[in-house]
Symmetry: C2
Subunit: 195 residues, 2 copies
């Protein structure tokens, strides 16, 4: 029953699953298509029937993680619907704590170039990684309602908050700084002051 007979059945899914597993365990540097193939019990060239390149698989994995994380973010957003400040703070806390807990996720997500960057300033954006868009949406809409100003003004505030949260996270994950204490608390303090 464990034996596979030539056809795997659901290789595409399994590649993503096992790929994420490998990425989480060994990181981006040590990640290799051949290892993933072996984990799936399949030959080295098999993945190419489902993904055109190593990068394509990583992109698929990224999307997977992205979706899961985005729904977690959305849950928080919905839960603090009335209170904009609280909403931002909780989203920020979730963001940093999630990434600190899953540093490998964060790395392989942000180490890849995004072909379609968000365009700020007019408030519209195409789709890069979903949680970024998700967080930006929350920020932009929140600031618009809160401050009731026109375009170009609130975008700077949203950008400030997002830069701060993201920047702090980057440094923690990359070991640029070692913060002694709860990153979640730190971000709460910083964002609170900023708002």
């Amino acid at each position: 029953m464990g034996k596979r007979n030539y056809h795997h059945g659901s290789l595409e899914n399994d590649l993503i699953q096992k790929g994420l597993q490998l990425l989480t365990n060994v990181g981006l540097e040590e990640f290799s298509l051949r290892k993933v193939a072996e984990m799936c019990g399949v030959s080295n060239a098999a993945p190419y029937r489902h993904f055109s390149s190593k990068e394509a698989l990583i992109t698929a994995i990224t999307t997977q993680v992205s979706n899961e994380f985005t729904s977690a973010l959305d849950t928080v957003v919905q839960h603090h619907k009335g209170d904009f400040k609280k909403q931002i703070i909780e989203v920020s806390k979730l963001y940093v704590s999630f990434m600190v807990e899953h540093p490998q996720h964060f790395k392989f997500i942000f180490m890849m170039d995004h072909k379609m960057p968000i365009t700020i300033k007019d408030g519209t954006f195409t789709e890069p990684e979903r949680y970024i868009v998700s967080m930006f949406k929350t920020l932009f809409e929140g600031f618009r309602k809160e401050q009731n100003t026109e375009l170009g003004s609130w975008s700077m505030d949203a950008l400030s908050v997002w830069s701060l949260v993201h920047g702090f996270t980057v440094m923690l994950v990359n070991n640029t700084i070692a913060y002694e204490g709860s990153p979640s608390d730190a971000v709460e303090t910083m964002v609170s002051r900023l708002l």
Copy 2:
């Protein structure tokens, strides 16, 4: 005269120089020791007489860039000695504009794990990349003089500014966002409001 006779003369320097060149041109992904060796007109194993691994060479290159950039930062710091706010703003502007102009530098610098992270909260730090320490120093000392408070309080402010500047830079360099306008101006606006 262009001909080399067995010994290169100054391979170590040349490896760093040509390595930086390659890194700047093709980025971290395509960077390879063998290519650098060829650029130096030397065999593939030669670099190992000077660097124990590929990573060791990259570290050396990083240090090189780091030093140059740090002195540029220091110049700005000295130039605006009296005015703390101005000091921070100009350092921030230089930081973001330099990194946007040299995205590859930024990437290979920050994509590597730092073995010795800065320890904040008590204000002391070991040495990771020098420009980080340099900027942090400016921030910490500035806030201390400005606010005249004890430890633990101003560190949060310094961290906020640094997170914001760094985070904005990361997003620009990684193409997470596409800011329409001068990044330098944007950072000036954001840091000004934060201070």
